[in-house]
């Protein structure tokens, strides 16, 4: 019985943890930290159990777990829905959240008030957005995670953060208005807010109502794409991520993925093949918008002069690749994209954390100086002298930092042997063989364009990361070895370790993602699963109202 209630646990655990922290005096930081760490660890355990629960073998009964809040039947009440995709996203959030929380214990949580409660509420919002099966509830959870993210972004204060925060909040408030307009338009046409119910009603719509539904879906999509950072709606991403404190930025690396998740979930559900005339609505927008995002992100990757902005640009590239893959609308490509989503979120999260460690002990503006030196090349002799001077030993700290940096670079650029390569390989293989490996079928011009862009974005990331690596590890003029605690290095190592696990266990992981993608592309299972969910009273047999 308790296993049935497990679906609500990813929302309830951090909610209660955050509430307890607020009751206790905010000055007792270590008490808060302990509760936060326990909650984050519990989330990892719960998320693993949920993934196991969601991963039922094919041919088995419905793989969709439904939790009726308040035991109201699905059409009327709010439901939480667990399928492979949402379980995977919850697990990803839990892993990233735990690593980031441990990292923040070293120093970041001390630079401002209420870091821990805000962090827990951020987890509530993220998990809720991944689990909910109701459009308006999705809005509420989006607002929860946004409200927490506003607080987290401003954590540590300072002029740059507050200025970036002002823009970030204004953009997201405007996007929330779009969200509401979209949701209410969809409600006015279908008379329901339950995602499964809405999807079930779309093929039955009268012709004159379709325009309204399309308008609603398009406005709603705009709101999601602002969050996902699609060009030109994503101009806020780089600046905001660069301004946030590093652990917060690392947590934000999953925030754009929430937008991608919402598009993935709703578009495939509402405009999948069963939607009749409306099938595939908006796919071209996703496809070409995604490619524009990749291009914009690549430009940012090559042009960034400091590491934080470089990481922000990598976020954009990864968003663009994901959106384009959704726009292609093939189950195989979606499966590869899911693998890419996990790999890129973990590696970019690790990269954001690593940046803080690498930057520590370097003087501000060193990057700009290094760029100037690259441009004019006048001071090369001096640098050679410097390196000879300190050439006697490489300290262990720098060696660890350097190897982590190389791992991040390989992951983000998508080079073998790590999971970034596996992800891109899976994506491009399915792209080139639309009807399965060896099944024939050819790629059209647009497909080749995407193929080229993915490869090119990898090359650009490699160039930029190499340059950044040389600049921060070899070219530094008066580099002190930063003092780095185990507690800070361990989370980075853990995130990279998960990427390695993902590489080694690529077989089972990929099978899981492909199964998730197939069920996303055949949403009938989801729709009937949610709508036929039996409530507890009914099961006990005494259910007459």
């Amino acid at each position: 019985m308790i296993i049935d209630h497990l679906i609500a646990a990813p929302i309830l655990i951090p909610l209660f943890a955050g509430a307890i922290m607020l009751i206790v005096d905010g000055k007792r930081r270590y008490f808060q930290a302990t509760i936060g760490a326990i909650s984050a660890a519990a989330l990892v355990v719960v998320a693993v159990m949920l993934v196991v629960k969601a991963n039922v073998p094919a041919g088995h009964e419905s793989s969709v777990g439904v939790y009726l809040l308040g035991d109201w039947p699905a059409r009327f009440g709010i439901v939480l829905v667990l399928d492979r995709l949402s379980a995977m996203m919850v697990l990803l959030t839990a892993i990233l959240g735990f690593a980031v929380l441990i990292f923040s214990l070293a120093r970041c949580h001390g630079v401002g008030a209420h870091f821990h409660p805000l962090f827990q509420f951020q987890l509530v919002g993220l998990n809720g957005a991944f689990l909910t099966g109701d459009l308006f509830n999705l809005f509420v959870f989006f607002e929860v995670l946004l409200a927490a993210s506003y607080g987290l972004l401003l954590h540590g204060s300072g002029s740059a953060r507050v200025r970036a925060g002002l823009h970030y909040i204004a953009i997201n408030l405007a996007a929330s208005s779009l969200f509401l307009i979209g949701v209410s338009l969809i409600y006015s046409v279908t008379g329901s807010l339950n995602m499964a119910d809405v999807a079930g009603k779309i093929p039955l719509l009268a012709v004159q109502d379709r325009v309204l539904l399309e308008a609603g879906a398009a406005v709603l999509g705009m709101a999601f794409l602002v969050k996902a950072g699609m060009w030109p709606l994503g101009l806020w991403v780089q600046k905001t991520y660069a301004a946030a404190t590093p652990p917060v930025a690392a947590m934000f690396s999953i925030m754009t993925k929430v937008g991608v998740y919402a598009v993935l979930r709703l578009w495939l559900l509402m405009f999948g093949e069963q939607a009749g005339e409306l099938a595939g609505f908006g796919n071209e927008w996703l496809f070409f918008g995604g490619m524009a995002t990749i291009l914009f992100g690549v430009t940012g990757v090559l042009a960034s002069q400091d590491l934080a902005r470089l990481a922000g640009a990598c976020v954009l590239v990864s968003s663009g690749i994901l959106l384009t893959s959704i726009g292609i609308g093939q189950a195989g490509v979606t499966g590869g994209a899911l693998f890419y989503l996990v790999s890129s979120t973990l590696s970019i999260g690790a990269f954001f954390l690593l940046i803080e460690l690498v930057e520590r002990g370097r003087e501000a503006g060193a990057d700009v100086l290094a760029v100037t030196m690259e441009a004019f090349g006048g001071t090369e002799d001096e640098i050679l002298d410097e390196t000879e001077d300190v050439g006697f030993a490489i300290p262990a700290t720098l060696a660890i930092l350097g190897s982590s940096f190389v791992a991040c670079a390989l992951l983000i650029a998508g080079l073998p042997p790590l999971s970034g390569f596996v992800a891109k390989f899976a994506l491009l293989t399915s792209l080139m063989n639309p009807s399965g490996l060896g099944g024939g079928g050819t790629m059209d011009v647009a497909g080749w364009l995407f193929f080229f862009l993915v490869i090119f974005s990898g090359l650009a990331a490699l160039v930029a990361m190499t340059r950044a690596g040389i600049r921060s590890f070899w070219l530094s003029l008066d580099r002190e070895v930063p003092r780095i605690g185990v507690i800070e290095m361990a989370p980075v190592a853990a995130l990279l370790f998960f990427c390695i696990v993902l590489t080694v266990q690529a077989g089972p992981a990929m099978r899981y993602m492909q199964a998730a993608a197939r069920s996303l592309h055949m949403p009938q299972d989801y729709i009937t699963g949610v709508l036929s969910a039996s409530h507890v009273k009914g099961q006990r047999g005494g259910g007459a109202p």
Partner: protein
């Protein structure tokens, strides 16, 4: 009634958008508030406009839903108002903080040359 509501929503949202694009933080927050009002009215109108109809079905009456107003959008509007209000308050605080940090009320934190 429909044209009146439609014009009201249109006027509110268009003035809101214009203000949102202005360079002063005060104008931005007023713009966001106006847009929020427009959106709330819009949600309300999406439940179809009805005069003098109750949103609650009586249990003993023969239920003819056409005679009653749709209660769900009303509930949604309430939620949206609460959330929008809280977010506006938060935005106001950030706005004041920017003013304190930069000494100007320009949205970019510095005056244009």
């Amino acid at each position: 009634m429909e044209p009146v509501i439609a014009i009201a929503i249109g006027v509110l949202s268009s003035s809101g958008i214009w203000l949102l694009l202005r360079p002063r933080t005060f104008e931005v927050i007023i713009g966001l508030s106006l847009i929020a009002y427009a959106v709330n009215l819009f949600i309300f109108a999406m439940g179809r406009l009805k005069m003098g109809a109750e949103p609650i079905l009586e249990s003993d009456a023969v239920a003819n839903p056409a005679l009653f107003a749709d209660p769900l959008p009303q509930g949604l509007v309430l939620t949206a108002i609460v959330i929008g209000f809280a977010m506006t308050a938060l935005f106001l605080v950030v706005m004041l903080a920017t003013r304190g940090f930069t000494g100007t009320d320009h949205v970019d934190g510095r005056e244009e040359e």
